[in-house]
Symmetry: D3
Subunit: 132 residues, 6 copies
Amino acid sequence: MFSVTVRDHMMVAHSLTGEVFGPAQQLHGATYVVDLTFRAPTLDADGLVVDIGLASGALAAVVGDLSYRNLDDDPSLSGVNTTTERLAQVVADRVAARLRAGGLGPHADGVTAIAVVLRESHVAWASFERAP
Amino acid sequence: MFSVTVRDHMMVAHSLTGEVFGPAQQLHGATYVVDLTFRAPTLDADGLVVDIGLASGALAAVVGDLSYRNLDDDPSLSGVNTTTERLAQVVADRVAARLRAGGLGPHADGVTAIAVVLRESHVAWASFERAP
Amino acid sequence: MFSVTVRDHMMVAHSLTGEVFGPAQQLHGATYVVDLTFRAPTLDADGLVVDIGLASGALAAVVGDLSYRNLDDDPSLSGVNTTTERLAQVVADRVAARLRAGGLGPHADGVTAIAVVLRESHVAWASFERAP
Amino acid sequence: MFSVTVRDHMMVAHSLTGEVFGPAQQLHGATYVVDLTFRAPTLDADGLVVDIGLASGALAAVVGDLSYRNLDDDPSLSGVNTTTERLAQVVADRVAARLRAGGLGPHADGVTAIAVVLRESHVAWASFERAP
Amino acid sequence: MFSVTVRDHMMVAHSLTGEVFGPAQQLHGATYVVDLTFRAPTLDADGLVVDIGLASGALAAVVGDLSYRNLDDDPSLSGVNTTTERLAQVVADRVAARLRAGGLGPHADGVTAIAVVLRESHVAWASFERAP
Amino acid sequence: MFSVTVRDHMMVAHSLTGEVFGPAQQLHGATYVVDLTFRAPTLDADGLVVDIGLASGALAAVVGDLSYRNLDDDPSLSGVNTTTERLAQVVADRVAARLRAGGLGPHADGVTAIAVVLRESHVAWASFERAP
């Protein structure tokens, strides 16, 4: 199995709903360093899992839609408790939608999994992996 | 599949038994930077794999029982050759026992795997993964 | 010259004032991974620049006062444009005040400089250094 | 499942063939920081996945054969488009050949997978995993 | 003293002249992860050392002029032995020229030093620091 | 000012003397990831601060003399409280002695400072800097 990963980041405000979150129920914020991985069992004729330029661009677009915002006010996240693991899923789902819509180009035709890691600090991170 | 990871560390003395270990048969030591991961196929109603506060606390407790000690003299490790891969298992097993005893709280009910990575330097690490 | 550094982090919401900040004028957030360094030309009788336990505790207290908050609403930062470089100064100033008040203990008597680095992402950070 | 990983690096020149590569079609170069992982379901009698000295030596030998060269002129890579994902496979295949030839010693008898990650920058990496 | 740092990278081929370089006399390559730091004794009215957008843009332009090339064929480096320490100076000098030409904007008026670190692997890096 | 840095590591057991050290008074251990920096105001005719091969070799020799040992039993450290900051000085002093004895070669003639950072975990490190 092959994989290719690209890294970007986003800086957001948000609050979390539920007693389990303690002080994180207050409005606060985070930098998420985002690692986006594409997996494929074989490489294409050019020796690629994915066009890394398109992969970086797709990630930049997805994190760009979330960056420099208060996620509590983002209509696309209405009703979503934006824990790190849930946000990893949001990023992966949006990348998968772009892939299915052709935005990752023909080199991505062999991709069988998309994984996203969100690093929220030097001591905590979360991930989500799905089929495209 | 989702995951959440927390990081902590422990500083221990030990020696290894067996010719294969060369100079590491002498009493020496290591800092292990420990990454503890919980995996779950779905999130709970709060959007969590695990309560990160309880996860960090469980890891701190497990590494605290090993830290600032000579592992060669630890009765709980009697007869154990404390290689990095074996210590990863020891940490994972102790976390799993805490989870089964309820110490990770109800948010951990959906956890299907526990993985531990022990980083012993900038050029070497080992891991162990198990069911809870 | 000797130094000792300890690391912690804080997660905050804030907005920045001024056209130069572009989208960062909107309410957003950041994780700041904070590196606090103490410098001293000589070590004390115990071989220390500073008691690392007290140093970690002082840093935890200072970042704890800022964490899980919207800095725009923090009275102690009223009128402060909380750029990363300015926040590095805020952290350093608060640590220096604790040191002068004796909170770092007698081992810190030889400290001649306090430096703070705030890492806001994998591609940007800022620092401030001052006398205690 | 257990794993052990060792890290090394190689510095190479190369060019890539295909319009998709844009400016990387020109002769350029890369440092690849290489992480080599061995997986095994159980540990041997010494508590090992693999003899870490032999693992480091095998990795050093494999990257040494590629380092400080122009890969475009390497006969062993004739006809290979040396993308990062393909080079990860090259490294893994060469390590696997050494393992099968006995070069990793008897401690490696239980190894069931070999994984290689090639980090080409702070924002991009690729991997390949195979059976030995 | 304040500082702000931004990170980018470049991927180049080159060879080094002189017996001291051993195998690095052959054409090979490197990824240089580049950290560009601006220092200033005080912040401006907006609380800045430098406009981080312009800083990132200046660094991207400087590394862009060197990336995806064989430095041995770059006329602007004719006669330059492109060691890591010398390349750090090349990058710093080019950033300084941009700053003096106004390319870093008025926020950079207080900058008193420019420092560049080039990381060539996980085990080696070099730096150069100069006045603007 | 130029600098060149090389990284290596050592794994040691030791204990610390003094109530301030709490549980670290017990025999325990550490991995120290060691960054050795040479500074010089100018480069030599080959464009170097130091021959990086000799620098890496000198560092390997110095950490090799300390590795896989109990520092409490090392006669060369008799009476030394081996705090991280003190060990940074020990390493720097030993490198400086090698430099003065010619072990870093003629390329090191312009070196004006030697700095050593010892990283004991992901959250703590110490340094010492001296003239050669």
